[in-house]
Symmetry: C2
């Protein structure tokens, strides 16, 4: 029996386009002799469709597309297609996150998702009604009747070790194991997080051993706003061995022959490489799915804009990227020369636009209104905002999406200027801590076997260059300390006391926690940022702003 | 039997402050002879605590506060206090949205919420576990044992007429009516929406008749980020008659004597006045709870900034508001004079800062980089961004929160500049359609019995004044048409076809729908906006950005 896992790159809302891709992939898999083609979760609408689901007309269109697919996917192979199912009520609720088994021009069965993730970036209880039990169907495949359990993503995401906090009262895998099946399939849209693929495989291996049958997962691939779906669809045998795996970060059709002993396992990149590949895919898809081809990036000569630029070049091609240095009176000589050598090494167009004139005009205009007040952070922000104005003007004039370059560490503590360096449509490395930005830079140079990120950019002390002789460490602890505190405070939700018990200084931890909390208002207005850690700023972290935090 | 409804203004996260307010209000009600004091939902944490609930230390502090209250609320009166309950598991999950009945220094009973709203601005399934059944307790009050059903907000929010779309499988009111009780109490945090108070009263009157007993609801009051809680706590008798009502938009302790026939019903403002009062309260609380006292507003001479300024003055006092006119070479004479007379009529400080110099410097700097490209929206945005830079500089230098002035109609179609006029910490009228902005202006003048909003501001045709002879209606349909389409498309989720069937022009509707969808990226980065309609931009409307919409 041959089963194809078709991991496709859907655009959210593009029902026509997604349907077309589904038909095309089915034809390929059918021609290759697949008995069953499994698509990723909600293949028709793309995942996550968010509040498009509240539009009854959108749900109706998706049902019409499914009916169209039932007629079109009429080869030898059966197909399992993710869609939004709806009861017959006139207002179209309740909805189900569903999968339809299509064969011979007909809809044979429909499975509904049982476990609805409603945590982190997921909001499925907002839209869907859970199934009360798992769907198990008997399907004639390759001349024999096979009993198949159809599950959708979270349905198999139950594991004592890692998910004790989730409040599920049922574990579909227990029901399935009790009933006894020949095969468990899972339609998935599981976003990338560092090291998550290994966990997926381990968890499903456990399920396979428990149920005594193979388990196969078809994951979505591609970037949709902040989420990057990494593909890497796979099959584990009944004994838990990994037997087949699709490519990571690419559209792929994996054909798994369950009667063969041959293993076909595509590489899945190691941690740092996976972050790079995720950011590349996330950037490419965000830019293109927003209707852009070209981007513009402000190059400061520092590490963040350098890494962002290298990712953009890998995502879109050097000819689509414009790098702009925007020196001020406080810029060091190396800031422009480092920016320029980066641009040269990446082969991107480079421009230099001095902010001097506008900065001076702004000061002149404002001086009478500032009275006797001494210079403070206002003057620093002003420069960042002049840069934002210039970059947005280039963005508007030439239709280039502006990429913003802030890293997670500085966004955490508000070491960034709203409407200044925070300007832009996509925050490429907003979920990458500063130490990891350095690691990525070194990794990029190593992979290339040459200097792409200038060595001086990597080795010089980081500075915002918004006043004379400014350095990050005048306002912040060393980045290894900062990142250690931030990971505990933000990703692990540890209290100040608990972080101190881990060996950090009380005053430092308190100061950092306070800065994180006080800067919610900035992050409220930040660009969409690509998620790579277990907790990113954005839809997965919903903090109040006008609030008081106690330490 | 005397029951006090203590509608308090909690600051989210401020457990110490909220506990202190609770003790103070209890003492007052106890001194007035109350037998039972009912507080609003989650009085200890403030509503909505959002992802603070994911911090185990936060939940522990709230439990400690409840234990403290159990000891402190030790007068004659019993008390019902909203808090976050937790099971004994070490990671503090699952949580319950809960109410504790405290009396004589002890915790007598705890009720958990059954229905967890997970729609619009609500995310309760993200945090809480639902109760399996309603809590009914027998409490000795005023010398007799009374059987009381304790419900929390959404538990009573079931009504065939208006909420058929919600997927609740239980209706606590049915269970309560079947068991038979003397009294139903409801701890609530129900945010303001135009006309919602009348609906609340009607719905609870129905419940009272069904259960054959009085129903009383204690609502939170105050602004917490985008949500404005309007108070207006009330009691309906067993026959559905409204007998008592607390003040709207103010902290209040309503003492209801259930044995008296006297009606004590505070006014609840009519629709337009309620919008004004909501925006005033929402602005005051956002500014103050963020730690500010003063605000700055850009005054264009137009209706939006005029109404925003009037609201700020009512919220904070004229001495806390700075109005700034920022004329450009395209500004009409009346734009500055109208701004100035507004400032004079409201008694606020007024400054004029011309953007000419900075605008010219920006053009000079950019011209060589624009090449042969003709002027377009870039040049218009540039002016708005220079204004943003100036206003933010005043905000930074003087610690004044910048209020942004865009209305819902222009935000809907993207008739606004990101990092320009969208700069600011709070979008005061971002949920008020343009036509309603005009209505508010006229209402303000009428209430004052004099011209506050200059007549010429109300009567002149609206213009962004970003190029010569620009008027809104060059890019947009008349505002009554625009607002009619937007209400159907955004609030009612109607499709293009359905809106056309309501009598609007196909091309216009399609154009507006496209503009709404294409401008998600701007609204992603907008300031927190005060919610007054059934569907506001922000947390209650979660749309994808890199998506394709089909019409």
């Amino acid at each position: 029996m041959k089963i194809a896992l078709a991991q496709l790159n859907a655009t959210v809302g593009d029902i026509d386009g997604n349907t077309h891709k589904t038909i095309h992939a089915y034809a390929q898999a059918d021609a290759q002799g697949a008995d069953l083609v499994i698509f990723n979760e909600l293949a028709i609408t793309g995942y996550p469709p968010k509040d498009l689901l509240l539009k009854p007309s959108f749900v109706r269109r998706n049902i019409a597309a499914l009916e169209h697919l039932a007629l079109k996917l009429n080869g030898k192979a059966a197909a399992l297609v993710g869609f939004v199912d709806t009861n017959a009520s006139p207002d179209g609720v309740p909805l189900h996150n569903a999968a339809a088994l299509l064969h011979g021009g007909k809809r044979i069965a429909v499975a509904h998702k049982s476990l609805l993730p409603t945590y982190d970036v997921f909001d499925e209880h907002r839209y869907f009604e859970p199934a009360k039990e798992c769907t198990v169907v008997d399907v004639p495949l390759a001349g024999k009747s096979r009993r198949i359990a159809i599950t959708i993503c979270e349905d198999l995401w139950t594991d004592d070790e890692c998910f004790s906090g989730r409040r599920y009262h049922r574990r579909p895998i227990d029901e399935i194991a009790q009933r006894g099946v020949d095969l468990i399939v899972n339609l998935s849209a599981s976003p990338f997080v560092i090291d998550k693929q290994a966990f997926r495989q381990k968890m499903l291996a456990g399920h396979a051993r428990k149920a005594g049958c193979p388990v196969m997962l078809c994951n979505q691939v591609g970037g949709n706003d902040e989420l990057i779906f990494d593909g890497g669809s796979f099959v584990v045998a009944a004994d838990g061995t990994l037997t087949n795996r699709a490519r990571a970060f690419e559209t792929d059709i994996l054909l798994a022959d369950l009667d063969s002993d041959e293993k076909l396992i595509a590489d899945y990149p190691e941690a740092l490489a996976s972050v790079n590949d995720a950011l590349v895919l996330g950037t490419r898809d965000y830019v293109r799915k927003c209707g852009f081809e070209n981007v513009v990036i402000g190059l400061s000569g520092g590490i963040d804009s350098a890494v962002t630029c290298a990712i953009a070049v890998e995502a879109l091609g050097a000819d689509k990227v414009l790098g702009v240095a925007l020196p001020s009176r406080y810029s060091s000589d190396h800031s422009v020369s480092d920016a320029e050598s980066l641009a040269k090494q990446l082969g991107v167009e480079f421009q230099e636009i001095a902010i001097r004139e506008i900065h001076a005009a702004a000061e002149e205009t404002l001086t009478p209104h500032f009275g006797e007040r001494p210079p403070d952070v206002t003057e620093e922000n002003m420069q960042a905002r002049v840069r934002g104005l210039l970059l947005m003007s280039l963005s508007n004039k030439f239709g280039r999406l502006l990429l913003t370059t802030g890293n997670k560490s500085e966004l955490s503590v508000g070491y960034c200027t709203l409407y200044g360096d925070m300007c832009g449509g996509l925050a490429v490395i907003s979920d990458v801590p500063k130490i990891m930005v350095y690691d990525l830079a070194r990794w990029m140079n190593e992979r290339a076997g040459r200097e792409i990120i200038p060595e001086s950019t990597i080795t010089k002390p980081p500075s915002a260059e918004l006043r004379p002789d400014q350095h990050d460490q005048q306002s912040l602890p060393p980045y290894d300390v900062l990142d250690g505190i931030l990971r505990r405070y933000i990703e692990l939700e540890m209290s100040v006391d608990e972080i101190v018990a881990d060996g950090f200084d009380l005053e430092t931890v308190r100061d950092i926690a306070r800065k994180v909390d006080q800067n919610e208002y900035k992050r409220k207005q930040m660009a969409t940022g690509l998620k790579v850690t277990s907790r990113a700023f954005g839809v997965g972290r919903r903090m109040p702003i006008a609030a008081r935090f106690q330490y």
